[in-house]
């Protein structure tokens, strides 16, 4: 199976994931109802509205994840058409890198917001502000930074390829 054919196959898989991921997440949320996120250290007595608000805030990484998948789909489309060394492909790789960095930064914002939301109605002295960094967050940040560097290199390569195509 050549490179373009593999890109086409992967593009189909990514397209399926981009559709099923949000459906699965929203479906689980609607079926099970919002739960107190694990590891926030807040009480289990939050109201339904607090839980739903916290759950909506918690959907932000999923939205970014779907955006990353759609950008991957666009990139794989370029690969399938044989435009691997192009400015557009380099741009898509850069956007994927930005998305991964965002996936690493979002939990740093979401956890504190969720902990405050879920403990808002607690008595004074029992409210919580949870801050934490996980290995997954660091992984996303480093992976995203690497993708941004790769995107820069690909843009240089695309420029060289365009220059080469102008020679006969």
């Amino acid at each position: 199976m050549n490179f373009q054919r593999r890109a086409q196959v992967l593009r189909v898989l990514v397209s399926v994931a981009a559709v099923t991921l949000p459906l699965a997440v929203v479906g689980m949320l609607m079926w099970q109802g919002p739960q107190t996120p694990y590891g926030l250290g807040v009480s289990q007595d939050a109201s339904q509205s607090q839980l739903w608000l916290s759950a909506l805030v918690g959907l932000a990484p999923m939205v970014v994840g779907v955006w990353i998948l759609m950008t991957m789909r666009a990139l794989l489309g370029l690969y399938a058409q044989g435009h691997a060394l192009s400015v557009e492909a380099a741009g898509d790789i850069r956007r994927i890198g930005l998305g991964l960095v965002l996936m690493g930064l979002l939990p740093l914002l979401i956890r504190p917001v969720q902990s405050v939301l879920l403990s808002w109605n607690n008595p004074a002295g029992e409210r919580a502000l949870t801050v934490g960094v996980g290995s997954g967050d660091v992984g996303f940040l480093l992976g995203g930074a690497l993708m941004l560097l790769i995107a820069w290199a690909m843009a240089e390569a695309a420029e060289a390829a365009a220059e080469n195509r102008a020679f006969v």
Binding site: E163, A166, F167, V168
Partner: protein, 66 residues
């Protein structure tokens, strides 16, 4: 100073069409047309050598500085 390509003159002298030459040297007719009109950034030595071999000429017969 600009480099002008005189390929069309040599093709006429040798009574060869662009299509024939393109097929013989292994480049597309479109690229050969771009070369004839001077709309390329450069020519590889390999391509230049093949053209000279097919048209029995020197590089100086094809390229002129103006």
């Amino acid at each position: 100073m600009q480099i002008v390509v005189r390929l069309d003159v040599m093709l006429a002298r040798r009574k060869m069409t662009s299509r024939d030459l393109a097929a013989r040297i292994g480049i597309t007719e479109q690229n050969l047309s771009l070369l004839k009109s001077g709309k390329v950034k450069g020519i590889r030595f390999e391509t230049l050598a093949k053209i000279c071999a097919e048209l029995d000429c020197q590089p100086g017969d094809l390229l002129e500085a103006e």
